[in-house]
Symmetry: C2
Amino acid sequence: MKLSTKGRYAVTAMMDLAVNDRDGPVTLSDISGWQGISLSYLEQLFSKLRKARLVEGVRGPGGGYRLGKPADKISIAQIILAVDESIDSTQCKGSEDCLAGDRCMTHKLWEDLSFRLYEFLNGITLADFIKRPEVRRISVQQNSTSSQISRMFQPVAHA
Amino acid sequence: MKLSTKGRYAVTAMMDLAVNDRDGPVTLSDISGWQGISLSYLEQLFSKLRKARLVEGVRGPGGGYRLGKPADKISIAQIILAVDESIDSTQCKGSEDCLAGDRCMTHKLWEDLSFRLYEFLNGITLADFIKRPEVRRISVQQNSTSSQISRMFQPVAHA
DNA sequence: TATAATACCTAGTAACTTAGTAGGTAATTA
DNA sequence: TAATTACCTACTAAGTTACTAGGTATTATA
C-alpha cells in the first residue's frame, strides 16, 4: 500500500466522476482543467483505472469517462491499488532463519499495520463522499476544521 | 500524508526500538542488518526522527538509539510525518473563484479523506504492536491470514 | 460524408525522490 | 589511548513522477 500524489490525483479524479455522474461522461480535458493535471498524465492514470474496470471510456463527441460500477462499490483502496505500484513488503525474502531468529517479527508487525490500513481504506467508498445531499454538509463540516487540519499536516516542528 | 517505502523503513525501525527497549539502546548497525537498509540511509532517517524527538541517541560504545517517549505516546502518523515530506494538498492555490465554482469541492473531499486517514494512523501507537505478551499473539494471528493479505496486496488483475 | 471531439496509445524527457557510497567529526566507554 | 558509536556533509546511481509531442480509432453531428 502506497500513498502518493499519484494516488491523490486518481482519487480526486474519481471523485470528480462520481460527483458529476448524472451529467453524462466527464472528459479528461475537464478534469485536467479542474485539477491542474496535464491531460496526458491523466490519460496514463485512466488507462490503469480502465484496466482495473473502475472506469469506462466513451469515445466521440460528448464522450468521456464514467464510473465502471456504482460509487458504493468503489473503495479508495481499489483506486490507489490500481494506479500505484505496490510496495515490496519484506526485505528478508522469506528466509526462514530470519523468522526463527525473531528479528523478522517486525516485518509481521508491519504487515499487520498494512492490513489494517488496507481494511480502513477499503471500507471507504466514493459513495461515502458524494451522496448528493451530503456533499455540502461534508464541505461545511470540513471548513470548520480546516485550520486544525492544515496545522496537523505541517511538517513536525524541529527542535 | 504520504506513505512510501521510506515511511515503512521508519516505522519498522521504530518497532525494532520498541521491541528491544528493555535491552538498552539499539544500534543503527543492528537495524541495518535486520532490515537490510544501508547504515547511512538509516542515519538520515534517524536524524529526522531525532529532530522530531521520537528517538534519542546515546553515543559511545554500548550506545545506540532509544525511544524518545513511551511507546504508547508514539503514533504511526507521527513517525510517517517525521520522515516524509508532506504532500501539497491542493492545486487551486486557494483561489476563491475555484471554491465558488464548485469544482474545488473535490479538494475538500480529498482533505476530508486525508484527515480520516491521519486520525486512523494517529490512533495506532507503537505500544499497540509491542506489548510484550501480545507480540506473539499478533504474530500468530498474522500467520493465519498472511496468504489472504499477500493476495490482497498483489497488483489488481488486468483484463 | 466530412469534421470535430473524444478516447486511446507510444516514445521520450526534465525534475524529483529514494537509497546508497564516501569521508569525515564528536562523544563516550573500557 | 583505542574502539565504538552517534552525528554530519557532499555526492551519486536508480527509480518515479509528471510532462511534452506525436500519433490512431471511434463516434456524434453539421
